[in-house]
């Protein structure tokens, strides 16, 4: 089974987000970067599927030259090779992103049996690139998946819903978006990192397409900075905490 997983480089935001002066990006001067959490699980799932059923795993990202760091991270945990669609770092809208991914998928010598995405990216959260890619390629797509099992006719996928888990039976080739919790991603080992340095990255620069969902500026939500009432320090706080629990009706 040949599996492709698409990931996005996003900043590790920590406790407080600040913006650049032009209000078009998060200030990342002091931040590290990672891949969106759902996608990290997608990479882990790709590795497990290939380990269990053979084939090869590929990671793709559309992003600035620095996003090679995220491709190497994914190869360090076991992905075989990478495709880097290099941008100048400006944000591509979902339609342009999907079109570039479709172009890269169609340019492959060997087709993919499965293309994995995260349900939504951690930063933009547009919820649509995977569905656009699947539609353009004429492939079935399921969303928000927390379990993938290979069955004789294809893939059995489970999605968490209020009532329990909805089940889909999916023929391959197919596109699946996964959610964090489908697995617990492994950490890269030192030998894994060494191997990742030698794995191939197929880099190209797709032409940009005009944005039809165009970000104008970012806005920090109105500060809900509260002044917390300090109930105490250490174990001595127990009595005032219990009094507060009574006052708000949590304790009778």
């Amino acid at each position: 089974m040949n599996v492709l997983v698409c990931v996005k480089r996003v900043p590790l935001t920590g406790g407080k987000i600040t913006l650049t002066d032009d209000e078009r990006a998060i200030q990342t001067r002091h931040l590290g970067f990672t891949v969106s959490p759902h996608e990290e699980c997608g990479a882990e799932e790709a590795i497990r599927l290939v380990d269990a059923h053979g084939g090869s795993s590929t990671v793709l990202t559309l992003g600035p030259p620095e996003a090679e760091e995220q491709l190497r991270d994914m190869m360090a945990i076991g992905i075989d090779r990478a495709i880097h669609l290099i941008t100048d770092g400006s944000e591509w809208d979902p339609q342009a992103t999907a079109a570039a991914i479709v172009g890269a998928v169609q340019a492959q010598d060997e087709p993919f049996d499965l293309i994995l995405f995260g349900t939504e990216s951690a930063d933009a959260g547009n919820y649509q690139v995977a569905i656009r890619v699947a539609t353009a390629l004429g492939l079935p797509v399921v969303n928000g998946i927390k379990s993938i099992e290979v069955v004789p006719d294809g893939l059995r996928c489970e999605q968490e819903v209020a009532a329990g888990r909805d089940v889909y039976l999916l023929p391959t080739p197919a596109v699946i978006t996964v959610k964090e919790g489908i697995n617990l991603p492994r950490y890269p080992s030192v030998p894994g990192r060494m191997r990742a340095k030698r794995k191939p990255v197929d880099a190209s620069q797709p032409g940009p397409t005009p944005a039809r969902l165009e970000m104008v500026r970012l806005v920090l939500p109105a500060g809900s900075s509260k002044q917390a009432e300090i109930l105490g320090r250490g174990a001595e706080a127990a009595l005032p905490v219990v009094a507060m629990l009574r006052e708000i009706g949590v304790l009778a």
């Binding site: 649509q128 009532a163 329990g164 919790g181 165009e214 250490g234 905490v241 708000i248």
Partner: protein, 287 residues
């Protein structure tokens, strides 16, 4: 005309989406629900046909609403904006939408016709839905559209207090230190009839199952009281608990960012504070 998909008349996000549609000033709002097992591409084809000539096609900003609208957008090759809190129609329209699970907002131009977007939770107050038209999947849905369909639903295994519905949630973060360390969190939760939650650091370390995670990529909760123990307050976590009515934070670092969102603060090590609170509750009950 605006076509507004709803999951049901009792669904709060659907009620908000219909109220939002009514506020846009784009004429009549046609409210549609679809009967039968969920089949995203086939349902989207049905919406494409019902929405022919509409100024806008919209849906609630939840998993299925976003999924359906993305299918509609892909079929029509039009742009789509997920989780909007404000929309000003025009060519292009201006939208304000949620990023980073609500830690950040974005102003954007949406250059499409019809306007395709979903309505973020709590963008407007819910109003009762006056009339809903329930339809079945259109004959226009192709065989390929019908391939993806829910074939069965496995019921949730009950037991314990559900995280998303609990009135009180007691959560532990990296400060708990280990899987075993959660015994003090569980003890307090049991005394309060509360659900146990945790931060992403905890699930990534494998100390608790992902089903316990409160956060942008976990469960979003809105309890009466949220007790956050040893949690620093990363944006990823706050995106999951900002709906809590009251927040009690217990953390040894008086400068932890969680205190900026807290109503009540205890500065101290959770391993001392939490057992002391449990003991105090027991003492009060036996008195």
């Amino acid at each position: 005309m605006i076509l507004c998909f709803v999951a049901g008349t009792e669904d709060e996000l659907s009620q908000q989406a219909v109220a939002f549609a009514g506020s846009l000033g784009l004429g009549e709002v046609r409210v549609v629900a679809i009967d039968g097992p969920f089949a995203p591409a086939a349902w989207a084809q049905t919406l494409v046909e019902l929405g022919a000539g509409a100024e806008a096609v919209i849906a609630p900003g939840d998993d299925r609403g976003n999924e359906l609208l993305a299918h509609v957008a892909a079929k029509l090759e039009q742009p789509m904006a997920a989780n909007c809190v404000a929309v000003t129609p025009g060519a292009p329209a201006t939208v304000r939408r949620v990023r980073w699970g609500g830690s950040l907002l974005e102003e954007a131009r949406l250059d499409g016709a019809p306007l395709l977007f979903t309505v973020a939770a709590h963008a407007v107050a819910a109003e009762p839905i006056a009339a809903v038209e329930t339809v079945v999947v259109s004959d226009g849905a192709s065989a390929a559209d019908r391939v993806v369909v829910v074939s069965e639903t496995v019921a949730a295994s009950g037991g314990g207090v559900s995280l998303s519905d609990a009135d009180v949630v007691v959560s532990g973060g990296r400060g708990v230190g280990s899987s075993e360390g959660f015994s003090v969190i569980e003890e307090l939760a049991e005394l309060l009839g509360a659900a146990v939650g945790c931060s992403r650091a905890v699930t990534s370390a494998g100390w608790r199952p992902h089903t316990d995670q409160v956060g942008q990529t976990g469960t979003k909760i809105a309890p009466e009281l949220y007790i956050a123990c040893g949690i620093s307050g990363a944006t990823q976590h706050m995106a999951g608990c900002k709906g809590a009515k009251r927040l009690l934070a217990i953390n040894p670092d008086g400068e932890a960012s969680i205190f900026a969102s807290a109503d009540y603060a205890v500065i101290g090590d959770l391993h001392e504070v939490v057992p002391a609170i449990s003991a105090e509750i027991r003492k009060a009950r036996s008195a």
